[in-house]
């Protein structure tokens, strides 16, 4: 484990950029929750509030031409990778100007122009896709890397083992990024496996792996930077396990009878935004009066409202057009 101090691994500009990204994700998702309650966003919605640090740090370490594959909890990954917020919002509202013309929705965001190649709603279904994508990079002689985001719930599924084995066997430039929030859907990890750490699951394959605190953005930043560089240099695959807290339920509307709500004081300890802001004050990256912090939030909320207005102005795709997209011609 690194003994570096947070300020040694993260500079002012990087820290503030990551804060801005996290605030964008947080405000976007809080707005989505409200829109969902008023049925302006419908369907199955999974929020990543509490895990913004992983999306921001991981995608912040990537180039535009690096590829990511996400799962059902994908909003943060999409925004952090560069997908335009207004089109993501329009997608969640089912509009023709949505990222995917309103045909995919929350769980299936794709923005290949920014390297978001696919998001799948079946837990772990994206893992072999990411491996194939990494194989394409290697075959083509490119130094781009691929990141597969997945939760700890995916690890007990067969496709995880198959993908880890093949990525290792064929030495693919793939970084597995596990967001371990301790819950697989509605039940705790202890109900699913005796293996506490996801890193331990891949131990026999002998590739680089590390567990980090997912609310510790400097630690995440340092770890993922090193892993992306290693994958680019041909040392893939690698696994970064990020211990996160899922602030909300599995999906919006989840009654969450299976767990106790976190006290506010506890939440502040696992909130990556609160943690990085504290560091920013300590390091004098933010002025003590709170104005700069408020500006991040205000800017993010303003962008979100513009995104909502953009989405509302967009009509749904006409049915004949939607039917014509089943096959590529």
């Amino acid at each position: 484990m690194s003994t570096a101090q947070p300020a040694d691994v993260l500079g002012r500009d990087e820290a503030l950029a990551l804060l801005a990204t996290m605030w964008r994700i947080r405000c976007f998702e809080e707005r989505v929750a409200k829109l969902h309650r008023s049925l302006q966003v419908h369907g199955l919605i999974h929020l990543s509030i509490g895990a913004e640090g992983v999306a921001a740090a991981v995608c912040g370490a990537l180039r535009v031409d690096d590829h990511v594959y996400s799962g059902h909890r994908a909003h943060g990954h999409a925004l952090a990778k560069g997908a335009p917020m207004d089109r993501v919002m329009a997608e969640l509202m089912g509009r023709s100007d949505g990222l995917c013309q309103g045909l995919g929705g929350s769980m299936h965001l794709v923005d290949e122009a920014h390297g978001l190649m696919g998001a799948t709603g079946v837990v772990g279904g994206n893992l072999p896709l990411a491996a194939g994508d990494a194989m394409a990079a290697k075959l083509g002689g490119s130094d781009r890397v691929t990141v597969a985001f997945f939760g700890d719930g995916a690890v007990q599924a067969g496709h995880f083992n198959e993908t880890v084995n093949l990525a290792s066997l064929w030495e693919l430039p793939l970084v597995f990024v596990c967001e371990n929030n301790g819950f697989a859907e509605f039940t705790p990890r202890s109900a699913h496996t005796k293996v506490e750490s996801v890193c331990d699951v891949v131990a026999p394959y002998d590739f680089e792996r590390r567990t980090v605190d997912g609310a510790d953005v400097p630690a995440l930043h340092e770890a993922i930077d090193a892993y992306v560089a290693a994958a680019r240099a041909g040392r893939g695959p690698l696994l970064l396990e990020c211990l996160t807290h899922r602030r909300r339920g599995h999906y919006e509307g989840d009654a969450e009878g299976y767990r106790d709500a976190l006290a506010e004081a506890e939440w502040a300890k696992v909130d990556p935004i609160a943690r990085l802001q504290s560091l920013a004050y300590e390091c004098d990256w933010l002025e003590g009066d709170g104005a700069a912090q408020a500006a991040f939030e205000d800017d993010a909320r303003a962008e979100v409202e513009q995104a909502v207005a953009f989405a509302r102005a967009s009509p749904p795709l006409a049915p004949p057009q939607a039917a014509a997209l089943v096959y590529s011609r």
């Binding site: 990222l99 013309q101 794709v110 696919g118 072999p128 093949l166 096959y327 590529s328």
Partner: protein, 326 residues
């Protein structure tokens, strides 16, 4: 110039030609080219021709990722049943990503497998499970019945921008036939009239095409001229060709190795019932496998499967030349 080669050689020739034509075509799967002396390996190298572990989910899922990133993978699955352990990739990922992305991405890949093999291979290596795939929007499904089609449909499948399930019948792979040399494409979605006739239409797929042609010879000896149509692909399905033939003959027999309630025959029957009812002079006859797992014992195997005798009998019944039995 055409020359006579086996079906399996025609398949391999198409893969080799497509790999030579396009550097983005890769070929891998279980037991593919295990020796470095394999002609494909010698021509294209180990990067593009790979042996994979028994990991159908990863094999097929990686093909999806390769396709998203600009490659055209051909995955050797050996048996159609082996896709069943990877159905999430076959059903939920490969065919749906293009649509769910609003057409932003495409997923060109070929899933190559044998189907419907019998001769004692019993319950888990003999399935004619193609309608499972044909029923998934976004997938294409081809069933070549001749060596020439085996080559031409493989080439078209590799060049198609959609995921294609390519199903070959292991009882056909050693059959010889005229196959054009060099580049040869058979368009996906165009039926072939295997034998013209005016009295009854027999639509048959894959292995049953040969059985239908044998039945047609038996019927010809009785003065009945059967037209045998091979759709060649089930998705897309060339219904116009079938409806045109039914309009001419007024009688329809559907021969299919699949179990009755999961057969292409039942789908074609529904389409003809809706769109060709006015052409029909008698009820449609389905000659399918019984709704049973393929048994191991030889007489039982013969009992559950369609054959030329059953097809000819169905044609006679459709024409009213034989008493209709339950």
């Amino acid at each position: 110039m055409a020359r006579e080669i086996p079906y399996i050689a025609a398949v391999n020739e198409a893969i080799a030609l497509e790999m030579a034509r396009d550097d983005t075509v890769v070929f891998y799967g279980q037991d593919v080219a295990p020796s470095d002396e394999d002609p494909l390996v010698k021509s294209f190298g180990r990067d593009r021709v790979r042996v994979s572990p028994i990991s159908e989910t990863a094999e097929i899922g990686m093909a999806v990722g390769l396709a998203l990133a600009g490659y055209r993978p051909v995955v050797e699955l050996l048996m159609a049943e082996f896709m069943l352990v990877a159905m999430n990739q076959v059903v939920n990922e490969a065919p749906r990503l293009r649509y769910m992305s609003g057409g932003r991405v495409k997923v060109p890949l070929v899933l190559k497998a044998g189907y419907g093999f019998t001769a004692g291979w019993a319950g888990q290596h003999t399935g004619s499970i193609y309608t499972m795939f044909a029923g998934i929007p976004g997938l294409k499904v081809v069933l070549p019945s001749t060596p020439a089609d085996a080559k031409g449909l493989m080439a078209s499948a590799v060049r198609d921008d959609n995921p294609v399930v390519y199903l070959m019948h292991y009882l056909l792979v050693l059959e010889h036939g005229d196959v054009p040399e060099g580049e040869y494409l058979v368009p996906i979605g165009e039926a072939a009239v295997r034998r013209p006739g005016s009295d009854v239409t027999i639509v048959a797929t894959g292995w049953t095409v040969g059985k239908a042609l044998e039945a047609a010879e038996m019927l010809a000896a009785e003065g009945i001229e059967a037209e045998v149509i091979d759709p060649r692909s089930l998705q897309p399905l060339d219904m116009p060709a079938i409806l045109e033939s039914v309009e001419k003959t007024g009688h329809l027999v559907l021969a299919d190795q699949a179990t009755r309630h999961a057969s292409a025959a039942s789908i074609i029957a529904a389409e003809v019932a809706e769109h060709g009812f006015a052409s029909l002079k008698a009820p449609i006859k389905l000659v399918t496998a019984h709704d049973a797992t393929i048994p191991y014992s030889e007489p039982m195997e013969a009992f559950v499967l369609p054959d030329e005798v059953k097809i000819a009998e169905a044609a006679r019944q459709a024409l009213g030349a034989a008493p209709v039995t339950a």
